[in-house]
């Protein structure tokens, strides 16, 4: 049958999109013997396929907005030479408002955090300045001075709570400036991270202790001594909730709250790790070291994908996978055009000389990069960095108070226990595969023995002897002897169990002459 070329094109495009929503391949139904189960699984696969197709169609036809982009005219113009001022002139006024610098020279350097919808920003100056800014309307909600060192700030599940790591303790504030909690157990915290699905606040303090606190209950979930020294490089992998720490020895370790040993310990740099970031899909990690290298890692194979020369004090991945690296007063954006995992230079931005960048962070659902530096904070436009289409039930930039309240309840109902943090979260909800049977059961062994005995019995051939020596009784006796011999050897085989390693070692030792036994552990010289 002839399909019109346009339809064919559409179906091919849909097939590409469907793959994204299928979440892995289908079950192989060929090998299943259980007919009922096979029918059920086939039905379910059919449903999965249908829903993936519906989602792909939705993506193709019904998404309200398209993503941003920045393209150069001709081969001479380079995207990274394009200045922010030029971009600002080319875009509409409301977007151009996202390019701004806030100069606050007294309290810097600044660090910041966005809510998951990108509607609010919390900023913290090192010298005690805390503020909550409504970045959508560019209005300061509240700012106040705590009069001590503030090292980090992070929003909890919505904009009405944020935690600030201060000189001695960590505090939780409401945006009106009311102190709600003082978390003394965490100690002098250097870096904070919040795990949204688990309601966990993770912190690393100046003794290198990693604390997990459940903020919905106010209970300490775990306190892990990393034993790897002081560090302020910490990021959460959004894909699985694993916390990664970068250490001064050049290692990156990954932690979960239910084990006191790291899940992964990888040597990434020959020198201290200075920054760390995760791709939102969770399979890509960027690390920067003092050895003047920025590396991209594949977290499924724990292999380096790409290495770039250069320092980075701070790294961040955007929702669409752009990587921002900030050093001194210079920001560089790398991108993998055509999603080939081959990152190359995309944009660059220089601040006023002398500004020291402390923190870069992409604003979710917007093409905006926030920069916290020694003289305040800035915001620049990075076209193509944000996810253009939000989901109202996941993170809504136009959320009303009522919706926020309702979402809080749902978040609490769906709160994940800390045990669900693991390297491969797709394992949750699966059943343990049946163990492979190594030893035959007793019944099987007996059956086998019987079969061999039968075999022996049927294959007995006796010589025909001279008259008088060939009595039937003697022949029967001889047969019996043969069978019993075979049986004995079989039984011996059956009872002979493989020795455990320890026993084997001992037996080896015993086998040696006594004078040589003391050399038994050592490897023989080759």
């Amino acid at each position: 049958m002839d399909v019109p070329p346009i339809d064919k094109e559409i179906s091919e495009e849909l097939d590409l999109r469907i793959n994204k929503y299928l979440r892995g391949g289908a079950v192989n139904l060929k090998g299943l013997e259980d007919k009922k189960l096979r029918g059920q699984l086939a039905h379910r696969e059919n449903l999965f396929g249908k829903s993936a197709k519906a989602a792909a169609k939705y993506e193709k036809w019904l998404m309200p907005s398209e993503g941003g982009y920045l393209e150069a005219d001709g081969p001479v113009e380079k995207t990274w030479r394009i200045k922010q001022e030029d971009i600002g002139r080319a875009v509409d006024i409301s977007s151009a408002r996202n390019q701004h610098d806030v100069i606050l020279p007294e309290f810097g350097p600044y660090t910041m955090d966005f809510t998951s919808s990108g509607q609010h920003m919390a900023v913290a100056g090192r010298k005690g300045h805390l503020a909550v800014v409504d970045v959508k309307n560019l209005a300061v909600r509240k700012e106040f001075q705590v009069r001590e060192t503030v090292r980090d700030v992070v929003f909890l599940h919505h904009q009405l709570f944020f935690a600030a790591a201060q000189k001695k303790y960590t505090y939780i504030y409401r945006p009106e400036g009311v102190e709600v909690h003082c978390l003394k157990e965490h100690g002098a915290v250097l870096r904070l991270q919040y795990l949204k699905n688990h309601f966990l606040l993770a912190s690393i303090n100046n003794y290198g202790q990693l604390h997990y606190e459940d903020v919905s209950m106010g209970a300490m979930v775990n306190n892990i001594r990393t034993g790897l020294g002081r560090t302020d490089v910490m990021r959460v992998n959004p894909y699985n909730g694993v916390v990664a720490l970068g250490h001064s020895g050049g290692t990156v370790t990954m932690w979960k709250p239910t084990s006191s040993a790291p899940l992964v310990k990888m040597l990434c740099h020959h020198g201290p790790v200075s920054a760390l970031a995760f791709h939102p899909s969770g399979h890509l990690m960027a690390t920067a070291g003092k050895d003047k290298k920025i590396k991209l890692w594949d977290l499924r194979k724990f292999e380096v994908l790409q290495t770039f020369p250069g320092h980075a004090k701070t790294l961040d991945f955007s929702q669409k996978g752009l990587l921002a690296c900030g050093t001194s007063s210079f920001v560089q954006i790398l991108s993998d055009l055509s999603e080939s995992r081959n990152y190359s230079k995309y944009m660059a931005h220089s601040m006023v000389k002398g500004y020291q960048i402390n923190n870069v962070l992409f604003r979710p659902y917007e093409d905006v990069l926030g920069i916290g530096h020694s003289m305040g904070w800035s915001s620049i436009l990075i076209p193509g960095s944000g996810e253009p289409n939000f989901d109202s039930w996941v993170a809504n930039p136009f959320e009303t108070n009522k919706q926020r309240g309702e979402k809080e309840v749902h978040l609490l109902l769906d709160k994940l226990p800390p045990e669900t943090i693991m390297l491969d979260p797709s394992k949750i909800g699966t059943v343990k595969p049946a163990r492979k049977r190594e030893k035959p059961t007793k019944k099987e062994r007996e059956a086998e023995m019987e079969a061999t005995l039968e075999d022996v019995k049927s294959n007995i051939t006796l010589k025909k002897k001279t008259k008088g020596r060939n009595k039937p009784s003697k022949r029967a006796k001889k047969k019996e002897v043969i069978v019993s011999k075979a049986k004995r050897s079989l039984l011996e085989q059956m009872h002979e169990e493989p020795l455990s390693r320890k026993k084997q070692k001992i037996s080896e030792e015993v086998a040696l002459p006594k004078s040589l036994q003391r050399f038994a552990h050592k490897k023989a010289p080759t």
Binding site: E59, S65, N389, T420
Partner: protein, 452 residues
Amino acid sequence: MKVKVISRSTDEFTRERSKDLQRVFRNYDPNLRPQEKAVEYVRALNSAKLDKIFARPFLGAMDGHMDAVSCMAKNPNHLRGIFSGSMDGDIRLWDIASRRTVCQFLGHRGAVRGLTASTDGRILVSCGTDCTVRLWNVPIATLKESDDSSNNSVKPLDVYVWKNAFWAVDHQWDGGYFATAGAQVDIWNQNRSQPVRSFEWGSDTVISVRFNPGEPNLLATSGSDRSITLYDLRMSSPTRKLIMQTKTNSISWNPMEPMNFTAANEDCNCYSYDARKLDEARMVHKDHVSAVMDIDYSPTGREFVTGSYDRTVRIFQYNGGHSREIYHTQRMQRVFCVKFSCDASYLISGSDDTNLRLWKAKASEQLGVLLPREKKKHEYNEALKNRYKHLPEVKRILRHRHLPLPIYKAAALRRTMIDAARKKDERRKAHSAPGSISTHPLRKKRIIKEVE
């Protein structure tokens, strides 16, 4: 230079007026929902827990009879009404919604053993140990205005006296005949004072009778000689007979697959048979710990309810070997009769303690009119539970039922007895000549023979 950045105007993404609904935008990208599988699992767990929290199946008792309730009948034409007969000869019509007696049908001198309503719902037929069959007009006017519950009684339309005590009665679907069971099976016409014909096979009492819902001329009976017999009205003699090891107390046909019926047996089990193939049960439904007294299929044909002498009511899937649900209360005594309501959402049980009890068919179902969003949520939760039902935590919660101690103990005892018997059989087989002892599956084991 070509450049575009995301720019959203508030007008496009928010509602225009305060009376409008909030606008909702979806993006199904899996990257926006990290750990979705874990979240789904937690939701499944929560919905399983909620199921347990909301499991309040008992709706109320209908009190009024002076003696044990022996039989019940649904009115196929009226959802709210149910008839019940008791051992002292009292017949009542109940309004399920208000749980009150609408009217009484007085006249029987002994226990009422059988009740049935005609398919159009106008005539009620009752029979009892006083050797009479009585036909009653169902008062439709009083059904409508059941609020004024003056216990008005009704006079019988006809009284037919016959030779023997009756044990059961059932009305034909889409026809004018009804069948009574007693010393023999009699087929009656509503207008004749004597049976139009009688069937007899063997000399033992027939204790239950049920017409086939699909083929109006077919009926099944069970007798005290441990038999299940199939009759065809177009033939002069009974067609087939199956003899089991124990007595069958009641029979119910599956209304959606009318060739299948399920028999409630004295040996604590129910046996589903295909009427075309009686040499083997299609399924054995185990779980009761005492004789199963009555059985009734849901109109959906997907499940049935049983009442047992062990004081419990259980719900089984039509293809499930074990019960989905068990209902019991401290006051409910031996259950003699159970019925599924005609909308498949309620159960009614009648027991020795003179009460009728009303139960929900799904223990945690939300009653009343559901909003579309509520309905969707329930469906979502149901799908989640179904998806994760094999995982140990969810399974444990979903399977947990509180049992009265005597039943718990009896079930354990039964289990040990069955295990011991099985072990003994195995040993006997192991120590006898190979092939000399043949084992049958339970589906065949309880069948003694099939007679044509």
